[in-house]
């Protein structure tokens, strides 16, 4: 596999994927032609693509998938008339474009979809003979696997505890354990993480303990958020994991801002932000991608396309070929990967990180996966999708199982180790819950602190009023909240 970088950005991924994306040919004009093509569709119809594409390279992808004459019966690029490019050009503020006499609208159909990168097949066996892609040693593989198992067990036990009424709310990451752990494994601990809310695995990988997770869920006085946010809205400054906010996709522009600050201070790290398929419909997503491309900042946009946004399936969320093509539209190097394949995720994020930092460019990764659990504990997904579908994805496609098959085939793991590990973790989580439940809740003062750096007079007055009221009617207020 050619692993030579082209100096002028963006091309490494294209090179690596040459054999996979069968229609990518030449890439040396990547930057220029992409630049041209940004404006093409706004000015004049796209030029027809010659059979032997030696022409607009990445634009050709764009053209190949979209350039279909709406009136003609043919929908294959090979059937478009061969024509030598016009010698007349339009010298426009956005770049030079060539004219054509053919009026061709791009198609709204997406028959040819971007291919998906994977390393391990459904049976956990390498999909390719190229062992370079499996550059993971035993220690790393086991660390990834055990973290994925911990995440899986943690989710199950915490979910159960919500059902039992011990915590008020929970959201599982069932089915997305590989995304959570493998992406974090490929990053450095100094890289900022701007999560959505389904990525506690990144915290787990960085050393957040089960007790710290449990404390946040119970909102007790030891949790870093001081009891102010909902369960699963973790945040930890020392782990460079920004506090989760419930608003969808607002973290995406934040990530661009953080990447901008890294660029200003010339740091050798990057930013990663996660979001789902639903989040890509928001204004914040589009504007942030556009900004990141224009500003040339080192941010990885990681989309967990898990098929569902609560009850909205992806074909009701967008009509584009998923999310990966949106990156292309904004001039962001993009890739589609198998989100249930831990090794593929690891490889892709490694390369994305290198690209982002060395070439100061954003990167978009669309990981195809499945949300095997409910949206949250407030949801029963069997109401809008079949139990069969859920079970199918919990089967062979399950990321934990697939990685397990691979490490077992390497002789690094077995069923004895598995059951031992699982029962151990289960005990630890249960213990953490018990401990967290007993700890005191944050005091009333924490309701008024941190609104500003120093509480202003009106907040002090309001706090005094609350204290007075609570003292007067102590029996009406919870006994475990200190004043």
């Amino acid at each position: 596999m050619a692993s030579t970088y082209l100096t002028k950005s963006k091309s490494f991924i294209i090179h690596t994927l040459k054999s996979k994306l069968h229609y990518t040919t030449r890439t040396s004009h990547f930057t220029n032609s992409l630049f041209h093509h940004r404006l093409l569709h706004t000015l004049s119809p796209l030029p027809p693509v010659p059979k032997h594409a030696n022409y607009y390279s990445i634009g050709k992808d764009y053209v190949a998938r979209r350039s279909h004459a709406t009136t003609s019966a043919s929908s294959q690029i090979n059937q478009l008339p061969v024509e030598s490019p016009s010698s007349q050009i339009l010298d426009f503020p956005g770049g030079k474009v060539k004219f054509t006499k053919n009026m061709i609208f791009t198609s709204n159909s997406t028959e040819e979809r971007v291919n998906c990168y994977r390393v391990l097949d459904d049976n956990g066996q390498p999909f390719t003979d190229d062992i370079d892609l499996l550059k993971i040693n035993k220690e790393l593989a086991l660390k990834m696997y055990t973290n994925m198992v911990t995440l899986e067990v943690m989710d199950t036990v915490f979910y159960e505890s919500q059902r039992q009424g011990r915590i008020s709310f929970y959201a599982t990451t069932t089915g997305e354990e590989a995304i959570n752990i493998a992406s974090a494994a490929a990053l450095d601990n100094n890289d900022f993480v701007f999560p959505q809310y389904r990525e506690p695995g990144a915290l787990l990988w960085r050393g957040f303990t089960l007790q710290e997770f449990a404390n946040q869920l119970f909102g007790n006085k030891h949790e870093y958020g001081k009891g102010r946010q909902m369960p699963v809205h973790y945040g930890s400054r020392k782990h460079n994991y920004i506090t989760v906010a419930s608003t969808v996709a607002t973290q995406i522009p934040h990530a661009v801002g953080a990447a901008y600050s890294l660029k200003m201070e010339k740091q050798d790290s990057c930013v990663i932000t996660y979001f789902g398929d639903g989040g890509t419909s928001t204004g914040d997503f589009h504007a942030a991608l556009n900004f990141a491309a224009v500003l040339e900042v080192p941010v990885i946009f990681f989309c967990r396309n898990n098929g569902w946004a609560i009850s909205t399936p992806v074909n009701e969320q967008f009509r584009s070929d998923g999310v990966v093509v949106r990156g292309k539209a904004y001039g962001v190097p993009s890739i589609r990967i198998d989100g249930n394949d831990a090794l593929a995720i690891y490889n892709a994020v490694c390369e994305a990180r290198k690209l982002a930092i060395n070439e100061q460019t954003p990167v978009l990764i669309e990981a195809l996966t499945y949300r095997a659990g409910h949206h949250t504990t407030s949801d029963d997904s069997t109401r809008y999708r079949s139990v069969d579908e859920i079970e199918r994805w919990k089967g062979d496609q399950n990321p934990v199982k697939r990685l397990k098959k691979w490490i077992e085939s390497k002789g690094w793991w077995d069923n004895v180790a598995e059951s031992e590990y699982r029962s151990n973790i289960r005990k630890q989580v249960a213990q953490a819950i018990q401990v967290a439940e007993q700890i005191e809740k944050p005091p009333v003062a924490d309701m008024f602190n941190d609104v500003y750096d120093v509480p202003p007079r009106n907040l002090n007055e309001q706090e005094a009023f609350v204290r007075k009221t609570v003292k007067k009617h102590r029996e009406d207020y919870p006994a475990d909240v200190p004043l």
Binding site: A245, A258, S261, R457
Partner: protein, 401 residues
């Protein structure tokens, strides 16, 4: 006067209808009273004489003649400067002082900003530190918040305050909240600034008064500048503050000229400004309306009134200390604002004063605001939506009867 609404809170109290201005003492709290004879001459007993103001009145909303504000009389030397330049000076001083300060917004870079507040900064600091952004207020506000959380101190410029409505989600749900919800782990020292208010025929969408919408958001501070002196001081204070601060400028005030001190100064974000001490009535105002009030004050003085004018400057939180002291002295309050009647700064201020100083009031608080209509384009109609000096004079006369 057809378009003006005067608000009265509570039952109307009776006033003397003759020309004597009689301030009633309330259960012995005040000593002495002021009597104004019908010929306009004043007799005072035990109170400071009226001529004890320390600065001139500024009489025109877009005044070009220099006026000295109280605080700047202390300095020996100074330089004349226009308001937009004062903002720029403050910004530049802070950018020199702290390398983490950066600016982002539309056309702030090489264009120098739509109102020239960032003129010359991009050539000096580079176009990464003075960043031109694409047109997406939600995104660059979010960007500023993310950059602030990871160590920078951005200043986010809205080309017009009204455009920041697009960034409301980021400002309310993230900017105001993340310091709190993260348990104090991440701070957001941003300054969000831009021109707002009714201009000269800018149309309804460009004449918004965002302070009414933003005032409820917990976690942010709001200040409004009105003179070159306080513009520079507030800008510097806002940048140095670790809290998110929204600095409201006014489209029509950018060309005000004033002499400001040469030496460095920073103002307090939570303090109001005593524009003109007085005895008869407290007039609370901010931003452009300060100038309409001062113009009316001139007329009022000629008619024998002695208004105390306070530019509240700090819109969130209110400087109830200075306001309270003034109310305790004059017992009558008139609020003059540019916000709409419903839910404006005046509405909140009325509630706050009533709650805290009700015992000191001799009359219900009067609040003059703009009407609840989108700002019309036609010049005469636009003029009528904004409180004008004759209305202020009439309100004071009514209040002091």
């Amino acid at each position: 006067m057809a378009s003006l609404i005067i608000q009265r809170i509570g039952a109307a109290t009776s006033f003397d209808t003759n020309n004597n201005f009689d301030r009633r003492s309330l259960s012995g709290r005040k000593s002495g009273f002021l009597v104004v004879r019908s010929d306009g001459a004043k007799i005072t007993t035990g109170l400071k004489p009226i001529g004890s103001r320390t600065h001139h009145l500024v009489t025109n909303a877009v005044a070009t003649k220099p006026g000295n504000s109280a605080a700047s009389t202390a300095s020996k030397s100074g330089h004349e400067i226009l308001l937009f330049d004062a903002l720029r000076e403050g910004l530049e001083e802070e950018m020199d002082r702290d390398a983490r300060v950066c600016v982002m917004g539309e056309d702030v870079g090489h264009y120098g900003g739509s109102y020239k507040v960032t003129k010359g900064l991009a050539p000096k600091y580079g176009d990464l530190r003075v960043l031109d952004t694409p047109i997406a207020e939600n995104a660059f506000t979010g960007m500023g918040i993310g950059a602030a959380m990871t160590g920078l101190r951005p200043i986010i410029e809205g080309m017009n305050m009204g455009f920041l409505l697009l960034a409301f989600n980021q400002i309310s749900n993230n900017c105001g909240m993340l310091h709190y919800t993260s348990g104090g782990q991440f701070k957001i020292p941003v300054v969000i600034r831009g021109p707002g208010g009714v201009g000269r025929q800018l149309g309804a969408e460009h004449s918004q008064r965002l302070e009414s919408y933003f005032q409820s958001i917990p976690g942010i501070q709001m200040v409004a500048c009105s003179t070159p002196y306080n513009a520079k001081g507030l800008m510097k204070a806002a940048i140095r503050s670790d809290n998110p601060v929204i600095l409201f400028e006014h489209v029509l005030l950018y060309n005000l000229k004033e002499t400001i001190p040469d030496e460095e100064y920073v103002l307090n974000l939570e303090e109001a400004e005593m524009v003109r001490p007085g005895q008869h009535v407290t007039i609370l105002t901010y931003s452009r309306m300060r100038y309409h009030v001062m113009q009316a004050a001139k007329t009022l003085v000629n008619k024998g009134y002695d208004p105390e004018v306070i530019d509240i400057r700090s819109l969130k939180p209110f400087d109830l200390h200075m306001i309270g002291n003034s109310v305790k002295k004059t017992h009558r309050v008139l609020i003059v604002e540019e916000c709409m009647r419903t839910g404006g700064i005046g509405a909140s201020l009325t509630a706050a004063i009533n709650e805290n100083f009700q015992d000191y009031l001799d009359a219900p608080i009067v609040c003059l605001s703009s009407q609840d209509v989108p700002t019309p384009y036609a010049g005469t109609l636009e003029e009528w939506t904004v409180v004008q000096p004759p209305q202020i004079v009439a309100a004071v006369e009514q209040l002091c009867k």
